[in-house]
């Protein structure tokens, strides 16, 4: 009864929001809604993104990087020690042929990657290098490498403490490992943290994993075909998302899931081609990256400015420590949860160290960032950003960089942005759903309520210019990391026991490859 009331209350508020967003789409921007929302949630956003005293460094970024560094040290640089074994696991060398037909390590990795590879890799990196200069790339790579240890820890726990139901389906993620793990260790507060995580996860799924994506996809489409009301994009997207997550139309999801990796490969291939076309500048570009990393080369805030941008972008892009990937990876049925952790550590590597670096290199090497010929330092505009060749920033900057070498690529990029946004939505609809069912229980009706709400948010996100709502949902995603990393600190000793056992059995030959 209480639940029904809550749902009807929620639906009424969403209709109100929808109406307000429709009003905005018509051009009469509903300032009141924005302002009311900003007033109610602003404190939370400010708290999450608050800078450390006396700096412009958001504490949440330091929180993620500190976590990543602690996990890296605690597990003895597992990301470097085990990367060859990780690749072997993804190739299926250690997969039991009798388990054929179950989710493979490759599939779990690909699914998790399609949730993280997206706008962060294309637009976010452009922002990072235009504010922090080429040096930001160095810090971004470093943060990506460290983040691999965070992913390893959370994904191992995701598989270890997931729920398996009688009908064979599984549910896993930080809410499960925090509540079960804390109980196992006799620690108090696990239930509370798990609920807190679930709330942030639902908000993050509606916001960063949905509205932000729909909003940016619309922006990208309208930049190509001309301006038109956002609700049109929103309804088209919502119908497709509805068909996939409610209607179970597998074919759409299958097409996306196949096209997205192809787009990812195409993106990297195009980057490599452009880099090779400018082969004579490769040495110079790396010189700029290293020099900028420690001197800033004139960017606002000097090398600290470069460091902040690099760290921030890596953390925002690969979601290491956020806990979302732990939900995706927990579907793998394996007798050794460690193996899933080892596979997942490839994710920040592919997302940040490979894809983000490619974006940065293309922007640098195609000369999008303007320098003063006399001093060699970057020219800074009034907004504190480096002046770019055509004055663009974000996706437009990346698009201009690729377009300067391959004139047709901006169109491919537009398709890629839309597809990445769509696949991120599908992934986050699942992450949100798992948090939702953790709070309200498993069941067809409860699931349907969430899925319908999710589709409504697609329309709102595409139609409205809800800046404060998007700020809030971004803050919610990073609030997930606050709860998750606290949980990981308390539970990492459990992972270490499993890791040591696994590695010793691997060394002794007890665990062997199945393929010849």
């Amino acid at each position: 009864m209480h639940f029904n009331k809550m749902i009807s209350g929620a639906v009424v508020s969403f209709i109100a929001l929808l109406q307000s967003s429709a009003a905005m789409a018509e051009g009469s921007i509903d300032q009141t809604v924005n302002e009311a929302f900003a007033l109610a949630t602003g404190w939370f956003v400010n708290l999450i993104f608050a800078p450390l005293p006396g700096t412009s460094f958001p504490w949440i970024v330091l929180w993620l990087v500190t976590g990543a560094t602690i996990f890296t040290l605690y597990f003895g640089f597992i990301q470097f020690r085990a990367i060859r074994h990780s690749i072997s696991l993804v190739k299926g060398d250690y997969s039991d042929p009798d388990d054929a037909g179950e989710v493979s390590h490759f599939q779990a990795l690909a699914t998790a990657l399609s949730g993280t590879v997206g706008l962060g890799n294309i637009a976010g990196v452009a922002v990072a290098v235009s504010i922090g200069g080429p040096g930001a790339t160095f810090w971004m790579i470093l943060a990506g490498l460290m983040g691999m240890a965070s992913k390893f820890t959370e994904c191992t726990l995701g598989v270890k403490y997931r729920n398996e139901y009688a009908d064979g389906t599984v549910s896993g993620g930080p809410m499960y490992y925090i509540s079960k793990g804390f109980k196992e260790k006799g620690l108090p507060g696990g239930g509370f943290l798990a609920i807190l995580f679930s709330i942030f996860c639902i908000l993050g799924a509606f916001g960063g994993g949905n509205m932000f994506q729909a909003n940016q996809a619309h922006a990208q489409i309208s930049s190509i075909v001309g301006d038109y009301p956002g609700w049109i994009t929103g309804i088209i997207f919502a119908v497709i998302v509805f068909a996939v997550i409610v209607g179970g139309i597998k074919s759409i999801a299958n097409v996306t899931e196949k096209v997205v990796p192809f787009m990812g490969v195409l993106y990297v291939a195009a980057s490599v081609i452009i880099i090779l076309m400018n082969a004579d500048k490769i040495g110079w570009a790396f010189g700029q990256i290293f020099e900028g990393a420690f001197t800033g080369l004139g960017v606002a805030g000097g090398f600290v400015g470069a460091l902040i941008q690099g760290f921030k972008r890596a953390a925002f892009s690969n979601e290491a420590g956020v806990g979302s990937a732990a939900i995706a990876h927990s579907a793998v049925r394996t007798k050794e949860p460690i193996t899933e952790g080892l596979v997942s550590l490839l994710e920040p590597f592919i997302d940040t160290v490979v894809i983000c670096t490619m974006t940065a290199l293309v922007i640098i090497i195609t000369g999008q960032l303007t320098t003063d010929p006399a001093t060699g330092l970057y020219l800074i505009g009034e907004n504190g950003r480096i002046i770019t060749a055509d004055g663009s920033s974000g996706v437009a900057l990346t698009s201009a960089a690729f377009g300067s070498a391959l004139s047709w690529f901006p169109y491919v990029l537009a398709v890629a942005v839309v597809l990445f946004a769509f696949s991120t939505m599908i992934s986050w609809s699942y992450y949100g759903l798992k948090a939702w069912t953790y709070l309200f229980g498993e069941g067809k009706t409860t699931e349907l309520v969430f899925k319908v709400l999710f589709c409504l948010f697609v329309v709102i996100g595409a139609a409205a210019n809800l800046g404060p709502v998007i700020d809030f949902s971004d803050a919610a995603i990073f609030a997930m990391a606050v709860v998750n990393i606290i949980g990981l600190y308390f539970l990492m000793s459990l992972v270490k026991v499993d890791l040591n056992s696994y590695l010793s059995r691997l060394k002794s030959g007890e665990i062997q490859k199945f393929k010849d």
Partner: protein, 145 residues
Amino acid sequence: MSTKLIVGLDGSEPGERALTHAKHLSKLIGDCTIELVYIIEWSPYSFQTPEENAMRHKRREQEIKLASERVITPALETLKSEGYIASGRVLHGDAAELLNKVAVKEKAQQIIVARSTETGIAAKLFGSVTAKLVMSASVPVTVVN
């Protein structure tokens, strides 16, 4: 030592013809075991949504149950009632690769599959499986028309 024949079944009429041929050979050979193999095409390198991943184990069980109930079990019952020695299995993976693998593992003398005469995607798939099997198999392959 008993001779072993591997028969690839897919629940279609051409598959039945492969089985008929295997029975004929079995009679001629005498001491012979027929191993029925039903393969559900599956790749560990395909792409799936998180929800599909979470449902995968359940789906796999259903697929195996369905294939056993509809194809393998009835075929085995008929074979046994007719006096043949037979066994069967349902596997997930690449059909050509797995048929060969089973044949090698079971030390079989021959693999018998059908060449589909039907049109459409299923026929196309079955046809390409046959071609791949003929080219890569480690034991003799008979393709029944």
